[in-house]
Amino acid sequence: MRKLTCGAGIALALALAPAYAQKSIYADYQRMTAENAPTELYELAGEELWKKKQGPKNASLESCDLGQGPGVLKGAYAALPRYFADAGRVMDLETRLLHCMMTLQGRSREEATKRVFGNADRASEFEALSAYVARESNGMKIAAGRSHPKEQESYELGRELFYHRAGPWDFSCASCHGEEGKRIRMSDLPKLDDPKYVRPLMATWPAYRVSTSKIVTLQWRMNDCYRQMRMPEPAFGSDVTVALIHFMTVTSEGETYRGPAIKR
């Protein structure tokens, strides 16, 4: 019998001579997987959740104000994160969704955040909702809030956090994402303080992740990076995660949003 554990771990069997060419060797792969991505399934699930009455107030999220007025989805994602006066802080999409779950549906933070990151069998509410809301910004220009003092503060905090080294391995975000042309193992590392690299990235979150067959969001990405940095865990929707997302989104200003997309 042939080895059945094919694919457990990294099975490399190819000569990748100029492994780091200017144009990614995976360009065709990325284009074809993007054309054949199952993201619509999640958008569909998110739409159902958006309209589903739940929580102590038995209410849907349909009147949730994502920054463009109650219930307005068009262009909302492209304009986040931004400052929300009713919450007194800057919020990204997931943080705002949580806010609406708590205020409109009357759910407790504890209950609503019990399962913020899903798995391949079942996406979390935030993941499905993010896919649904983000789709409604497809084709629009990314323009996170920058005019309110709190927005400036959040952006600056995100920038400081990006370079802040801490933890047992002395890592900052820039340890891996601070130089051009680097890779970790076989994976290209985008320089995330550089518009050239961060623009195409921010234009494509949330995304269906091929390696884990699940939809992933920016809150998940921040959380998982801190895990790999050997740090403690950031709270979902905390100022830290929002500020980092804000920093990168501002750096991507003007890019056309084209998600939800696909990632390796």
Binding site: A166, M186, R227, F247
Partner: protein
Amino acid sequence: MKRIPMLTAAALLAACASGPTDERPRVSDAEIDRVTAVLKRDFHARGQATMNRVDLDAVQRACNLYNDNPPAELAKRLEEAQLKAIPFPSGSLVGDWKRGERIAQSGRGSMWSDKPGVQEGGSCYNCHQLSPKVEAYGTIGPSLAGYGKIRGASPEMQKYTYGRIYNSKAYSLCTQMPRLGHAGTLNAQQIKDLVGLLLDPASPVNQ
């Protein structure tokens, strides 16, 4: 072995040319403390990743304060202190390269998702080329292919290599390389096995 490339002033300048938002501003001690306070407020312990990991030691503080480019005198003083704290074992430091290769391949260890205690993970291939046969290597650190063939395996080279893995900051204060022994990620035997991987003439690194 040269210093691992890091964010240099030149790299920052180059980055500035491509956009308005990617310049790292200089930070003060007070600003660093403010970031630490925010981390303490927004993070929570999970598994082995306890909250004291947010606290900065003198090395981290200096690197944050000076954008990884501290004044030579300060760097030298801190490097010396780091070097003095390395508990070098006596005798040969060249362990089993086969075990070393496994440690180099694995990225496990010290994460909240890992089992507590020392795991078999040095994450070496994440950043370095080692055995030329392994194609899945990272480029954050320099290639270490042929490391022992070039340098030999003298006691001095063994000690240097051991120390470099145990605490790289003792040799180059703001290198991006983790202090794998100092941080408790690898134990003495595991570091010896990695020294074996790098120095043993039979190791794939030196073929």
